[in-house]
């Protein structure tokens, strides 16, 4: 259905994603020029999984290119139309990030494997009998695969505000799920700082959530841990800031927090309700 829709959109659209007067250095890019940067600093993305360690952020790349219609922006390949000066629509593909929590840099994958299946939740009951473990470690479940998102996004904006609505579907048939996101971003400047704040709400389908956070026979024979995940709403808020030091170097930072929603947090695989993503450092733009 999605591919047919994208094809119709491609064939019927004669609009050019033309350049508008875009002045904010933080969110604007010159057409037909690669924007390549690398940032050094300290930060992490927390991991909500049981025994899941935070994902360290020491070096951050920033790679983007925008042509007349096509673009590449930090892992997202897309094709954009601009039906009028206040809105754009794009189709795109990108890697789904849900799998990152299950990635290889978990310490037990690097050092020694552990036999732990609990996260301190299997505390003895007052009667002396142990409750069945309520949690299961990310080390003890079946592998989750990466998936590819195919999406459609429409943006409406003025000088400093941007509203967007995004629909994403699993392009590889890994989980056959989808998600939909409504997002608002406000860009502003304060003294030498360029800042952007954003708020968003995302609906993730049960297929998507269940594939990554559901527990079934594929993971453990212990039926008490089996969990069939339902759909969920996730809320995100964040702040991005940037101050130039000279032509190439600048200070940069970002803070973002996401509430995971009950569909995720009710899983025995998940021990945290929020994911935070922070980074502070200096960036060099070539």
């Amino acid at each position: 259905m999605f591919s047919r829709f994208f094809l119709i959109l491609l064939l019927t659209s004669a609009f050019h994603a033309s350049a508008l007067a875009c002045e904010n250095k933080l969110v604007c890019i010159e057409e037909d020029n690669w924007s390549i940067g690398v940032a050094f600093g300290a930060g992490a993305r927390t991991n909500p999984l049981v025994d899941g360690d935070a994902i360290p952020l020491i070096i951050l790349p920033d790679v983007a290119w925008y042509g007349e219609h096509a673009y590449f922006d930090n892992g997202e390949f897309g094709y954009q139309w601009q039906p009028n000066k206040d809105s754009t629509t794009e189709v795109f593909v990108r890697t789904n990030t849900e799998r990152a929590y299950f990635a290889f840099w978990h310490p037990s994958n690097i050092f020694l494997p552990t036999n732990s299946v609990t996260d301190g939740a299997g505390t003895p009951s007052p009667g002396g009998e142990e409750d069945p473990p309520r949690y299961i470690s990310v080390d003890d479940i079946a592998q989750r695969d990466w998936s590819l998102d195919a999406g459609l996004r429409t943006n409406w904006f003025n000088d400093n505000d941007r509203w967007s609505f995004t629909v994403i579907h699993d392009a590889l048939g890994v989980h056959n799920g989808f998600s939909a996101t409504g997002r608002y971003q406000h860009d502003f400047e304060w003294q030498d700082w360029a800042l952007a704040t954003h708020l968003s709400v995302t609906y993730k389908s049960s297929n998507l959530i269940d594939y990554y956070y559901g527990i079934s026979q594929r993971d453990t024979s212990d039926e008490t841990l089996w969990y069939s995940a339902g759909s969920t709403f996730q809320f995100t808020g964040g702040l991005l800031f940037n101050k130039p030091i000279n032509q190439h170097w600048h200070w940069l930072g970002r803070i973002q927090i996401t509430s995971l929603g009950s569909g995720v947090t009710d899983s025995p695989l998940v021990s945290k309700r929020y994911v935070t993503n922070m980074f502070f450092g200096v960036g060099y733009r070539f």
């Binding site: 033309s18 350049a19 890019i29 943006n155």
Partner: protein
Amino acid sequence: MRILLLTILLLLCLPSFAKEKSPALFSAFPNECITTRKGEICILPITLTYPEMSSSEHCLHINNRILGCWSPDKLPTDLELELDSDSTLTLKSEDDKKAPSVMLKVKYRQASTHRRRVRNPWSLF
């Protein structure tokens, strides 16, 4: 008194009348091309004026790309150039050490070719 003032005025003006007519310089008119946006080819019809030249063959170059060579009396006075960015038109000859040039500028109606990114910078992870 009036005669004296008129005489002084004439004497003051005399140097400018006496000055020799300055030799023509290598020039192009117009020297600016306006197009819609960066990346589009801008077609610029120009009229060229040449300085006094030796009788040897002279060549016109645009950004070091040769357009053609002519004897001085056959050099084109009207040209149509296709420019994709600011360019330098140079008149060169084997005899003349000097190679006069003119800058041809390309300007865009669309003040900014900047676009809003769909993702925030540094958002890969």
